[in-house]
Symmetry: C2
Subunit: 391 residues, 2 copies
């Protein structure tokens, strides 16, 4: 956990937002959370984007490029005063003051503003633990089912009702439960309308992708820029070194954790959300590390060094009857990094962190201008191109 | 200029190294500079990589992954004591202490260690001014031509001899002058041997690529993560905003410069080394900016926003009889950024900065593992693949 205040609270990554939300739950920090729950037209952030707001006007994170922060502060003040979640709709389609001209504020944006209460405890804990959740929240209710009513749906396991606000009733949840589990699993969002005796209820299903972890195996100075940049873009970073003397937090001040380990034991630090970069510079250690990592569910194993070095590692493994499967080849990146062409340590770090982010989002890097289709992944409830709307 | 001390002096980018070198020239900071001038086999950094060393053992930058810093400190102490440049060769091919096993220290590395003196004044000034230079330095001399003798060669203009150390004699320089001008222009390096009456002289030609500049047009909070990451990887950053009230250094603490300008005047801030990202979020301002930038030599014009927005800008320009040439289409990146898939402000910033770095190095930003050929650009004097050695 990094203690220092960020120099740019607006631009904090999701990891830091959830860390702050955890502090808010403990009574320290902003007490309201705003979530984009619907967008029609152009918007700066996608649904699911969040920011925190304090009763003193402080903010943490940002969900617009500057156009809605003022009004949102006022709404948050009201929500914190009376304790009731609310959805506000900002219609900027007729905005005439110049901001509307393509600011990413020219559409209609729905924002749920709510107090930070116990309904957040499970999702925040799950985020940090790498477990998958979707919150199902009423964003347009009825007389008997208020805005903000919420039930949290794990990817696996029973739905969780909050203690301090209404739950989504079972008959309503039933209609979206299977899809909510899918959103928990894939981290995407959707809007759903469910008919009830009291009238239609609009739900926002918010798949909360858990923290992404980066494990760096190595202890040389070139680990530092990787750690720094990775943390800056919101990866939780563990540095593991085979040399005990280097397992020193002060050597890697931006790492969440620094551990000394035998390379054969690296698997203990890895789950299916842990991206790994092997950069000990020691061929034997790297081989032991690779061998250990192959029997883990790590989705990405990056190996620092030229192609020939990887081929030698692969041959060495072969001699021990360890053969790489197609799946292994798919998750091994060697040489690690995107092709940015820079040779300085910080440029190499940028290349590595960019590749990790791309792979974590099922992308290949490459230039966006050369890519067909929309930049952002669509929600299951948004029409995608070129296939027709699925519902 | 950023005043704060870096948290990681080892991993500083070239921009900060040259800023520090400028301070050293003024008498403040490390007084020795070490440059990799030759590599045979595997090495962590390529020739041309530099670090600074102080007589108190302090270092700034790094040219190895940790294996040579100790010995280099000793050499620097000796060089600073007697004032004479020297070349040390580290042969790690028979290294048996474990470091040699693929650390990137298993080859033979030649390092020139020299005092920071007047011979650096012109190259350092040129670096900051965006002008192209190559230093030509004796790395293996004769009785009459010592190691460290240097002449600086501009891409255009007359060679510059230093005041306080021997120059490369005209008859020796003559043999490499044309190539040195090319290295000044392309920023690459080469080793050359020239026969003289006193024996063979080895020269290191060090093409010093000047600072890369990033101009960000915009004033919203999303400019901040771009500025921060760009500075961190060594781009000199100017933020230009069309809204005077936002032209506030405190809003963009990592920017080298914050200026208020009319978008039509953006060209005044651009040279042929200035990469530009247009992200004002205002369609009219962006159009005026794009129109102004088209008549500059900017090698890269990134436009924030979806493809459709760029198409509208292009159509608007067309109505004013401004038609994009093929060259314009080649330098315009819209949507700006590499395809990393992240939607958070800091992820978008990472995507933008990665694309700028890739384009500045003539790369396309895909995954290195999918790229054929060597990771690093070869020196003109290194054999390239698959073509045979050129000399």
């Amino acid at each position: 956990m990094i203690d220092s205040e960020p120099t740019d609270p607006w631009g904090v990554p999701r990891l830091e937002l959830f860390e702050r939300l955890e502090r808010s739950l403990e009574g320290d920090g902003e007490r309201a959370v705003a979530t984009v729950v619907g967008v029609d037209g152009s918007a700066y952030r996608r649904p699911g984007a969040k920011m925190l707001l304090g009763s003193d006007g402080s903010t943490y994170g940002g969900i617009t490029a500057g156009c809605l922060e003022g009004p949102l502060r006022e709404v948050a003040g009201e929500v914190l005063a009376d304790g009731s979640p609310t959805v506000v709709t900002f219609d900027l389609t007729d905005d005439d003051d110049g901001w509307g001209l393509g600011l990413g504020c020219e559409g209609v944006v729905d924002v749920l503003v709510e107090p930070v209460d116990d309904s957040w405890s499970d999702p925040v804990e799950a985020f940090g633990a790498g477990e998958r959740r979707a919150t199902v929240t009423v964003v347009d209710g009825t007389d008997s089912l208020p805005v903000g009513a919420r039930t949290t749906v794990p990817a696996e396991g029973e739905p969780i009702d909050p203690d301090d606000r209404p739950a989504v009733p079972e008959n309503v949840l039933e209609a979206v439960l299977a899809d909510a589990r899918e959103r928990a699993a894939d981290g995407r969002w959707e809007r759903r309308t469910v008919a009830t005796d009291g009238g239609d209820v609009d739900l926002f299903v918010d798949g909360i992708e858990p923290v992404k972890r980066l494990l760096v195996f190595g202890g040389q100075p070139d680990v530092r820029p990787v750690t720094r940049l990775a943390r800056e873009v919101g990866l939780e970073v563990t540095v593991a070194t085979a040399r005990g003397a280097q397992a020193d937090e002060s050597s890697f001040p931006r790492a969440d954790r620094v551990v000394a380990t035998h390379p054969s034991d690296l698997g203990d630090l890895v789950d299916d959300r842990t991206f790994v970069v092997v950069m000990s510079h020691n061929l034997l250690d790297d081989r032991l590390a690779l061998e250990a990592l192959l029997s883990t569910p790590a989705p990405f194993i990056g190996l620092m060094g030229p192609r020939e070095r990887f081929e030698r590692l692969r041959d060495d493994l072969q001699e021990e009857s360890v053969t790489l499967t197609d799946e292994d080849r798919d998750r091994i990146a060697s040489p690690v990094g995107l092709d940015l062409g820079g040779g300085e340590p910080v440029e190499i770090a940028l290349s590595i962190v960019s590749e990790v982010l791309a792979v974590s989002n099922d992308r290949e890097g490459g230039r966006l201008r050369d890519r067909a289709g929309p930049i952002h992944e669509r929600s299951p409830s948004e029409p995608s191109e070129p296939s027709p709307p699925s519902d």
